[in-house]
Amino acid sequence: MNDLIALILGSGTPLVYAAMAGVLAQRAGIWHLGLEGLMIAGACAAVLVTSAAGSLLAGLGVAIAVCVLGSALLWVVIEKLKANPIIAGLGLTGLGLGGTDLAVQAVFDSEATVRSEIGLPRLGAAFGPYAHLSVLVLAMPVVVFALWVLLRRTRFGLQLAACGEHPFAARSVGVSPPRMRLVALLLGGVLCALAGAELALGSLQLFSVGMTAGRGFMAFAAVIFGAGHPVGAAFAALFFSVVEALGIKAQLLLGNALPPDLLLALPYAATVAGVWLSGRLRGGGQSSGAFAELRDY
């Protein structure tokens, strides 16, 4: 049982961090489909720089810088160039996936996998069966709680929600929706870098091309499943990784009785089911505040 929980926490933590970035953007009024791209860029930068410089701090620092820059680029494309946020987010994802592939090939010729000697600090023997998990797993609930306080219990959080729900209301009290969205996206960039670092340096200590394998989209689905609420989204992300862990367990138990590809598809199927379910539960068709902005003039 402890193994299973460790497995869930290990694979769920990157999802939760990325989902928190998605929640921030969602509340500011942006459907963040660039999570996948930012996550893999963070993972790539963390591994490449850590192994090249031999310093974890340098790796994390560069990963954060890359993701924040990527987020800033997304903001410029959405707010300044007035592109559709969903298309722009998908573009960022394409840029992240392709860019990291290119970076790995450019630096290491044809190798598709890069290893790092250094990983994130582990919890250590005191934590028993959880010893091999990284400190970011332990920090995850703290980050979720902090985000909940920030979004639901501060004026900043209310103003951010107003920007997403009713931008004109935000403007009427002197809050600039574009500026708030920039803050939300940049903060989300930091979280995506952590998500990528945890994914690549948490237990594996390697980067391979395309290693996010759709986790950014699962994180986005968790945002929708969790109705844009940080705690809800965190639980949704963990739910997806529960399904993933169960799939792995089932594979071990059943051997080849079931095609392994089917079991590997489980978390993605659960994601689709989760999003459908959350739509049903909330009665669908909630009108978004975007209409209000149309009434502006």
Partner: protein
């Protein structure tokens, strides 16, 4: 010397000019509002009233001109500068995020109490006193979207007063209120005046202006016509003339009745329809299944006879839209029957209803009524093409264009070519295109939903005349409007909707008091 003069005004603008693209919304408007009074700013739709309010609140940056608040010049186009100087604006369609609780709605625009995290209870304790002092009874935990419109407005006003507002601007605050709600609002504003707040009211009903305002300012076509004239020095006729101005060609033909309705004087009424005429549209005990688009109909019985105009009054959002959808065949009817021109139509498809003579002038001119990106002839040809039936029949654009051209000329639409897009027309002309399409020789029932909203005086009079002519030709007309003066003026009967029910039926002469009570559900 200069300072003493400037400080006379709570809010003053000099030479304010605003243009949106080619349209001049305000031209060199200079006006000053003395403190501690209630000022009305009036004008027709499109006169620049809302733009003026937004300039004062810093939401719109004028191309030229200066803004002074309490004698001090502030940066234009900066909400925080205007708010910092004490100017707050209450929008016509409210500006509060619907998912916020009342307490959150107070907090999100506040600048007091620092930025530290709060608890839910702490937040409610923080704002309870503020709401109590304003006499707002909405519960702090309730969500804005669940509040009735009167409370929503009260909360919006309370939101505007969370900072130490010295100038409160309200944009068309009475448009969403029933008569009793207007009385409460005016009492609240008089209370604010007593506490030294300068109130600027954007209005378009002359009766209301004369009821509450200390001074009147008139805008017309973006220009200042009258600046803060004492309200006791001006009468309704003079004010109407200032608002309407030297007659545009259409307004010149304004009948006395129409003019009286615009002024809100309560016009006299024409004789009712012949009682013996058959009902062309009848709803018997109709209830609809609840859906997210609005309150469901609850045992609605209603008959519109040939040759009469039945008005539907009610505060917006009480099932009027569902009523129209039920008649159109777009709502899920749970029980009851709908009869169109003598034939059962409860289960009839929308197109079958149109074939039976149902015509609709929809609520939303620009989204339901017209395809703005399509050409005029395409918009106009929708009716003949759909009614002609066969889906794969060939169409003859040249013939349709010619027919459309003739029809639009007959309806006095100002257009250059039938190839121009519907989006290039002004509101009044766009509405005339819909009239030209919907009111044809085969029409038997015309449902007109808010047909004059957003139109200027001339176009409004035109729409009224068209509805009267349709009645004269034997059509039954169902007129849904939130403008009681309009309903009083042209309806032969008025029914009142409240929460999806028919709350009362009234015959002329109408009593504002009785209809107002029915609209709010206050027992007689």
């Amino acid at each position: 010397m200069q300072r003493a003069e400037a400080a006379e005004y709570a809010l003053e603008c000099q030479g304010v000019t605003v243009s949106f693209g080619a349209v001049m919304a305000l031209r060199e408007v200079s006006v000053g509002f003395p403190p501690g009074r209630i000022h009305a700013v009036v004008g027709q739709n499109g006169a620049g009233k809302t733009t003026f309010a937004r300039v004062a609140a810093g939401l719109v940056r004028p191309a030229a001109g200066t803004l002074r608040i309490a004698g001090r010049e502030v940066t234009t186009g900066a909400v925080n500068a205007a708010r910092g100087a004490g100017v707050e604006l209450v929008h016509q369609s409210f500006a509060l995020p619907p998912s916020f609780t009342v307490a959150e709605a107070m907090e999100f625009g506040s600048t007091r109490h620092g930025r530290a995290p709060f608890t839910r209870a702490g937040l409610e304790a923080r704002w309870r006193g503020h709401l109590d002092s304003l006499g707002v009874t909405a519960r702090l935990r309730e969500r804005v979207r669940d509040l009735p419109v009167e409370s929503q407005q009260a909360v919006e006003i309370a939101r505007a007063l969370v900072t130490d507002a010295r100038v409160l601007i309200l944009d068309e605050p009475t448009a969403v209120l029933a008569p009793a709600g207007i009385a409460t609002l005016f009492r609240r504003l008089a209370g604010l005046r007593a506490s030294g707040v300068t109130v600027i009211l954007i209005l378009h009903k002359i009766r209301e202006v004369l009821e509450i305002a200390d001074t009147v300012t008139v805008l017309r076509g973006g220009r200042l016509i009258e600046g803060t004239v004492a309200a006791r020095d001006i009468d309704a006729q003079h004010l109407a003339a200032a608002i309407i101005g030297s007659a545009p060609p259409e307004a010149a033909t304004l009948s006395e009745d129409d003019r009286a309705a615009l002024v809100g004087a309560g016009a006299g009424h024409a004789a009712g329809a012949t009682i013996a005429a058959p009902a062309v549209l009848a709803l018997a005990d109709v209830s609809t299944r609840p859906d997210p688009e609005g309150p469901a109909l609850d045992n609605v019985s209603l008959a519109v006879r040939a040759g009469e105009i039945v008005g539907v009054a009610g505060v917006e959002g009480n099932g009027q839209r569902t009523l129209v959808r039920a008649c159109a065949g777009l709502a899920d009817v749970q029980q009851g029957t709908i009869t169109l021109a003598g034939r059962a139509a409860t289960q009839a498809a929308p197109l079958a209803r149109r074939a039976a003579g149902l015509r609709i002038i929809p609520f939303e001119r620009n989204s339901e009524g017209l395809s703005l990106s399509s050409t005029l002839w395409e918009n106009w040809a929708v009716r003949p093409l759909l009614l002609a039936g066969r889906l794969l029949a060939l169409i003859d654009p040249a013939r349709l264009r010619a027919q459309c051209d003739a029809s639009l000329r007959h309806w006095d639409v100002r257009f250059t070519t039938t190839e121009q897009t519907a989006g290039s027309l002004s509101g009044g002309n766009a509405q005339k295109v819909i009239l030209a399409r919907e009111i044809d020789a085969s029409a038997k029932v015309v449902i007109a939903a808010q047909p004059t909203r957003g139109l200027d005086v001339g176009a409004t009079a035109f729409v009224w005349r068209a509805l009267r002519e349709a009645r004269g030709r034997g059509c039954g007309v169902l007129l849904i409007s939130s403008d009681l003066d309009e309903l009083f003026d042209i309806s032969d009967r008025i029914v009142v909707m409240l929460s999806g029910r028919i709350a009362g039926e009234f015959a002329p002469p109408y009593s504002l008091d009785a209809i107002g009570r029915a609209m709010t559900g206050v027992a007689r």
